[in-house]
Amino acid sequence: MSLDPVILFFLLGILARLVRSDLRLPEPLYEALSVYLLLALGLKGGVELARHPLAALLPQTAAVILMGCLLPVVAFALLRRPVGLDRVNAAAIAAHYGSVSVVTFAAGVAWLEARAIAFEPHLALFLAVLEVPGIVVGLLLARGAGAGAALGPLLREVLAGKSVLLLLGGLAIGAVLGPAGLKSTAPLFVDLFKGALCLFMLELGLVTGRQLGQLRHAGARLVAFALVVPLLFGAVGAGVGGLIGLSVGGATLLGTLAASASYIAAPAAMRVALPEADPGLSLPIVLGVSFPFNVIVGLDAYHAFAALLAR
């Protein structure tokens, strides 16, 4: 465990919930912070991306998307057998774990930067492309039971959703303008990044703190799943990162992405497309177990995996 302001603010949020504090971040602030984080991550990646040949990126991106399609299938298999869930709930939770969490990624970026470990700029691109496959595969897995709405409109909604739009938009703007063109925006988008992330983590601590109270409903097997799967997927992600030629920092972040579970895009999509899936099972383990696990101990583990594999 690493004592980082990001973690400490998160713990403060959890504490606030546990002591039933009246602390509450205004909704518009939460909304603004999430827009800010997405843009900052996109711009940062885009600026660097402009210096790299794009052609080399295609096979890597294809490998990452393939990973994003396979991981939810593994999650689904684990949820069906050892955990013993019904098909629809297993598919919905598999979609959460197949998709990714922007804030976990942001925490990973802050973790690496605090240790001056370099990573490839296109990890922000991988963040954008990994949001969707998990959700689609999750829905296809549920389809087997005859459940699920039409894929088309849902896909459009996820692709046009703010996270994909702002990440890709930030990447494009960063790539077009380059470091010189964006210099005047750096005080906002670069210098304030970590402080803004701390505020966001305070809010997420509040959300996590409430989900902790719902864990009993999820049950011990799901809680075990929510601890084992990030470690397993994190190792796979770090391994894939090494295989496609990422640096240790890049492989750490790919591990972080694979380990992370979506708590915004996937729950929203599942609520619409698989209404019979119980959010009372997925949200407590995603927010109450896997998210804190990833940011508090997971990041160190995925970095250790990546470093081990690089030797």
Binding site: E203, I264, P279
Partner: protein, 103 residues
């Protein structure tokens, strides 16, 4: 009785915000001319919905129309969403000006 107020029904639906688009589509399809949405928070049998992040927002969805239309909308909403979503529906009498706007 001469009154400037015309009798109508106010149908209020409190729902998860993930239903917002579907509810708009339902009332438009039923022929309701307008609607109002407010973000709200509260608690119920299923626990609290504090509304502090996007997965947990709730909305209050209001339409003003005549009784028949309100019945139609409420029936459709109940049939399609009551099984899997948190929902509260209630109907009240209201008086409106500009009656032509509320079929």
């Amino acid at each position: 009785m001469d009154t400037p107020w015309h009798a109508r029904k106010l149908l209020t639906i409190i729902a998860e915000s993930s239903l917002e688009r579907s509810l708009i589509a339902e009332v438009r399809a039923a022929g309701v001319s307008g609607y109002t949405i407010a973000e709200v928070r509260g608690g119920g049998a299923g626990g609290e919905r504090a509304g502090d992040w996007e997965g947990e927002r709730s909305i209050e969805f209001r339409v003003i129309c005549d009784q028949a239309l309100a019945d139609r909308v409420a029936d459709r909403v109940m049939r399609r969403y009551a099984a899997n979503y948190a929902l509260v529906l209630y109907l009240t009498d209201v008086g409106v000006r500009r009656a032509e706007r509320f079929p």
